[in-house]
């Protein structure tokens, strides 16, 4: 981009190290907790690495090979977990985009008690996943929980499929809907009112205004929300850890859950690192797809 304004600022010469002084504190953090761990993590994944066992033999790519070997112990476990992460992400992200958008549109209107309603939808998010998870585990119990009691159902929300997925996704939507709504709301308030007024003068209906003004106006915010939500969903841990504990038979144990358990509970850090790099490759591919989709649309929209 052009930085026309910056050109004027270069009135006075600055010492060559000044910019680096500005950058230094962040770069220090960046080096120690971002750059170093990426390399170190990969290094770890090439070893049989147990934090408490002094010998850490180099094993090359065999931790990775194990993950792709259906007869190994970790391979099938890992892909079951990847599948769990995939299912959760695919089903939760659309809901976490559409519902918050609807709520934001509703809350963008002018009516009494608006702030109160906004607070209502945001409230669960403030609780944090620990409270949310334990609260819902109590409410969702298939035999003695309130949910089945009031719905008159006999669904095992925490020990059976697909019930467990419905429960985990439902709880996640309930928990984080408010956050995404607030961000959409911010985007909505950013769209110039005049655009709507002009459209009304032109006689555009509500649906047309939504398509022609609201949606394009929200595109940047939507990109942010979609990407953040995909990452958050792909990192789902607490809900499964607290509500289903991976049940039934580890099928709702997500990839990050398995990685944390393998690396930080069982201290098989080499395998855990290999798992995290494979998961990361998938996530980066997903992010790439999202950005690609938005970019294409943008150019299409701009030329239209």
């Amino acid at each position: 981009m052009s930085v026309p304004t910056a050109s004027g600022v270069r009135v006075r010469r600055m010492r060559p190290w000044t910019p680096w002084a500005f950058l230094a504190p962040y770069l220090l953090l960046f080096a120690v907790f971002m750059a170093l761990p990426i390399g170190f993590g990969f290094w770890t994944s090439l070893h049989e690495w147990d934090i408490n066992v002094p010998a850490k033999p180099f094993v090359g790519l065999s931790n990775y090979a194990d993950l792709f070997d259906p007869s190994s112990v970790d391979g099938p476990r890992f892909w079951t977990a990847m599948k769990a992460t995939g299912i959760f992400t695919v089903f939760s992200v659309p809901l976490l985009i559409v519902l918050p958008l609807l709520v934001a549109l509703l809350m963008n209107g002018r009516f009494r008690g608006r702030n109160l309603y906004r607070a209502v939808y945001f409230a669960p998010y403030v609780l944090g996943v620990a409270v949310v998870g334990l609260l819902w585990r109590f409410l969702l119990d298939g035999n003695i929980g309130l949910v089945n009691h009031y719905l008159g159902l006999d669904v095992q929300w925490t020990t059976d499929l697909p019930g467990a997925w419905v429960a985990l996704i439902g709880v996640t939507v309930w928990w984080t809907l408010g956050l995404n709504s607030v961000i959409f709301l911010a985007g909505l308030q950013d769209i110039p009112r005049e655009l709507y007024e002009a459209a009304m003068v032109d006689g555009a209906g509500a649906w047309h205004r939504f398509r022609a003004i609201t949606l394009p106006g929200l595109r940047p915010v939507t990109l942010f929300v979609v990407n953040a939500t995909i990452l958050a969903s792909a990192n789902m841990f607490g809900q499964s850890y607290l509500i289903t504990v991976g049940a039934p038979a580890d099928q709702t144990k997500t990839a990050i859950y398995l990685i944390a358990e393998t690396g930080l509970r069982q201290f098989d850090m080499g395998t855990a690192s290999a798992m995290s790099f494979v998961l990361a490759a998938f996530l980066m591919a997903a992010s790439g797809l999202v950005f690609g989709a938005f970019r294409n649309r943008r150019t299409a929209g701009d030329t239209a």
């Binding site: 600055m14 953090l29 907790f33 761990p37 993590g41 841990f237 990361a280």
Partner: protein, 278 residues
């Protein structure tokens, strides 16, 4: 006639909204109700929306408990989230300013490297950062939950986008007045960036406040846990004391909820004015 109809529609809308809101909040209400039950009442499997008898025993017990020191957890969480958010601002703001406004060799490369890590899923950092934190002997202490996540590139990226939109004339004027770079940054740019800084603070605070996995593994002793990790410990108890858990959850949530009610306008404005517009 028309206004009447509108009035009717309006109250219908209100009714629907109210019902949805009530349903939405009902689990929280049940949480509040359960926190007021006796320990047997809370363990009962028959739903009861009115605690009989109502008691503050659970609050009394949890406030005096050494195994579940919720107040300590709350203080830890506030300290961790605040510390984290402050650290993000203090490190990201000057870095973002340099990347947005200062012309130097290596700027593009530095920015490219930093932004590239936005696409690195945090999961790859989990195990190595645990090992690094362990090497630093930070395990089981607040720095472990404050510092590592501040290396994320989001703050720098976010503020840089904001700084590039600021008009340059003010900085020029400051330069002419004899301010050096630091003074320009601190006295002119930062005040202008207040909304963006506030937003970044809030986002960083919330993400740290809600973080569960990392503190669960990196904090060990009960008195150093944050709220999510501490409350998550109830999961292990084979018969969960729901009265205690809910009382703890109430103590933990009410201050934050109040804070949000007071500050929500500000937060929303902050988010909208500070250009998530990429």
């Amino acid at each position: 006639m028309r206004t009447e109809l509108r009035g009717l529609r309006r109250s219908l809308l209100h009714l629907i909204l109210a019902v949805i809101a009530a349903l939405y909040l009902s689990p929280l209400v049940y949480m509040a109700v359960t926190s007021l039950k006796t320990r047997e009442g809370a363990g009962s499997t028959t739903p009861e929306w009115i605690p009989r008898p109502a008691t503050l025993d659970a609050y009394r017990e949890i406030l005096g408990s050494t195994d579940f020191p919720v107040v300590t957890w709350f203080v830890n969480s506030v300290a961790a989230a605040t510390g984290h958010a402050v650290l993000v601002l203090v490190t990201a703001a000057p870095a973002a300013y340099a990347l947005a406004r200062l012309d130097f060799r290596g700027r593009r490369a530095a920015f490219a490297v930093i932004v590239a890590t936005l696409f690195v899923p945090p999961v790859v950092l989990l195990v190595p950062n645990f090992l690094i934190v362990n090497e630093l002997a930070w395990v089981d202490s607040l720095p472990a939950v404050i510092v590592p996540a501040a290396a994320g590139a989001f703050g720098v990226f976010f503020l840089r986008q904001f700084f590039t939109t600021l008009p340059g004339e003010l900085e020029e004027a400051a330069e002419l007045d004899g301010c050096n770079r630091w003074q320009t940054f601190a006295r002119v740019v930062l005040p202008l960036a207040k909304p963006a800084l506030v937003t970044l603070f809030v986002l960083s605070f919330l993400s740290n406040w809600n973080d569960f996995l990392w503190p669960l593994f990196v904090l060990l002793s009960p008195e150093s846990l944050t709220l999510p990790a501490g409350l998550g410990n109830f999961q292990g108890a084979n018969s969960i004391r729901y009265d205690l858990l809910m009382a703890g959850a109430m103590i933990a949530s009410i201050p934050v909820l109040l804070l949000y009610l007071v500050a929500q306008r500000w937060i929303i404005e902050g988010i909208s004015r500070s250009g998530l517009k990429g």
